[in-house]
Every structure is written in C-alpha cells, then in structure tokens.
C-alpha cells in the first residue's frame, strides 16, 4: 500500500464520514445531529467519485445532502421537537444492541477483510452518465418504470397522510 493521492483522499473522506456518523450518535441537539450527517452524506459522494461513479455521486449530493436532509429538517421543525435531550432509552437494550452490532460487525468483517478479487480495468468513468442512461432505458426499463410508480405512490401517500383536512375545512 503506497501513500498515493487516492489513498490520502480515501482516508480523509472515510474520516469525515465516520466522524459524521459518530457525531450523530453523540450530539444532543436534534438539528445538530442532522447537520453532522450531512457531512457523512457529502463524504460518501466523494467516495463515489473515487469509485468512478460520478453520476451516483451527483445524485447522492442532490438527494441525500439536499432533499432528504431538508425534509428531515422540515420534519423536525414541523413537529416542534419538544425535548432536545436524549434521555436514556432502556440501558439494557443499548448494551445488547451494542454487543449485537459488535458481533455482527466482527462476523461480517471476517468475510470482507481479505476481499480481493483480481481487478480488471473498467471503463466506468468514461461517459458514466451515458452508460447509466443506456442501461436504465434498455435493460432496466421495467424496474425503472416501476420506480416511477413507487415515487408516485410515495408522493400521493405522503400528501394524504400529512395533509390536515380537518383544519382546511375549518379555514374555508
């Protein structure tokens, strides 16, 4: 392993991502947590660039760091979070979950720590968006169309659930 530029970039990005995650777990203010997670999301986008997935990286920034985080912030504001502190949720459950996470991580790590498949040169970074587009509109047309249904359902469903018709009726 040499200290190439790529390696340094990876280390930096990984550090940011993990710090963001750890802050999520340790901060006390809800808004801060969300903001810390934005770091993680952006860092992940950087990771995608390293992995020659420029389009996914762009989508990541747009959707996660943009859309999802924003609606989460909206959600926090709309629901006027009344307590910012994080009191103890059952201590035992925390410990058990922590142990579970450790065990799970260890077991999976055993499976990946030595994961090396002989690398073949790829052309993923060349016209990345076009490759994706081609695949999406030919081979994956069915799931693609279904995703549109899924998004529509989510849209309609969210409106139905979130809209307060009683209030509206009162206003009119």
């Amino acid at each position: 392993m040499t200290f190439s530029g790529e390696f340094l970039a990876f280390m930096g990005i990984a550090l940011v991502a993990i710090i963001g995650g750890v802050l999520l777990l340790n901060l006390t203010k809800v808004v801060h947590m969300v903001v810390s997670l934005i770091f993680t999301f952006v860092a992940i986008a950087g990771l995608y660039v390293l992995l020659s997935a420029e389009f996914v990286a762009a989508v990541q920034i747009l959707i996660y760091s943009g859309a999802i985080t924003i609606i989460m912030l909206f959600g926090i504001m709309l629901t006027k979070h009344n307590d910012e502190h994080e009191p103890k949720t059952g201590k035992w459950r925390k410990i058990l979950v922590f142990l579970g996470v450790l065990g799970f991580a260890a077991a999976v790590y055993l499976g990946i720590y030595n994961f090396n498949i002989e690398q073949v040169p790829t052309t993923l970074h060349e016209n990345n968006t076009m490759q994706i587009g081609k695949a999406l509109y030919s081979k994956y047309i069915i799931p693609f169309e279904l995703t549109s249904v899924l998004l529509l359902v989510a849209l309609v469903g969210s409106i139905i659930l979130a809209k307060n018709e009683k209030k509206e009726a009162d206003d009119q």
């Binding site: 990876f10 947590m33 999802i68 989460m72 996470v101 994961f115 993923l124």
Partner: protein, 104 residues
C-alpha cells in the same frame, strides 16, 4: 492497480451500516431514527458502488442498483415523515418510546 483495496471501502460501509443501525435502534427522536435508516441505506450503496468497480465481473449494474436504492430511500423517507406528521398531530410527540398504546 488501485492503492486503496476494495476491503477498505467495504469496511467503511460496514462501519457506517453499524452506526446507522445502532442509531436506529437506540435514538429517541423519531426523525433521527428515520435518518439513521437512511444512513444504513447509504452504507449499502457504498457496497454496491464499490462492487461495481472492484467486485467480481465489474459492471455498471452496481451503480444502477445504487440509484434504485437511493430513489427507494427517498420514497421511504418521505412516507416515513408523512406518517410521523400525522402521528404528531394526534399525539403531540416525536419520542419513539411514547408510541406505546399498542402493546400486549
């Protein structure tokens, strides 16, 4: 070929997945729980994109899969938040441990 081995990416994904999982199972604010789930999905996407470059028979498929996962995640987040808002209207709380009218 590359100076960063695939396992490094995978390990990072694993760590983020675990952080997300831990957050989803222990955080008290429902919004944070939802966002922790998003973090888990993100970790999965790192896996997919990594495999699309360094996995067996590299291909664009992994990136496509990741894109699908992202859109699904967005849909879930939206619906989750909508449900939360309608619950908040009735219950005036976003604390997940106060959602316990349904139990044995």
């Amino acid at each position: 070929m590359s100076s960063v081995p695939a396992s490094a990416f995978l390990a990072l994904a694993l760590i983020l997945f675990c952080i997300g999982l831990y957050g989803a199972l222990t955080k008290r604010n429902t919004v944070i729980v939802l966002i922790s789930i998003e973090l888990m999905l993100n970790a999965v996407n790192i896996n997919l994109v990594t495999f699309s470059k360094y996995g067996m028979a590299p291909s664009i498929t992994g990136q496509i899969f990741a894109l699908f996962a992202i859109s699904v995640a967005a849909a879930e987040a939206a619906v989750g938040l909508a449900v939360l808002i309608s619950l908040y209207r009735a219950r005036k709380t976003v604390n997940i441990d106060e959602m316990d009218t349904l139990k044995n």
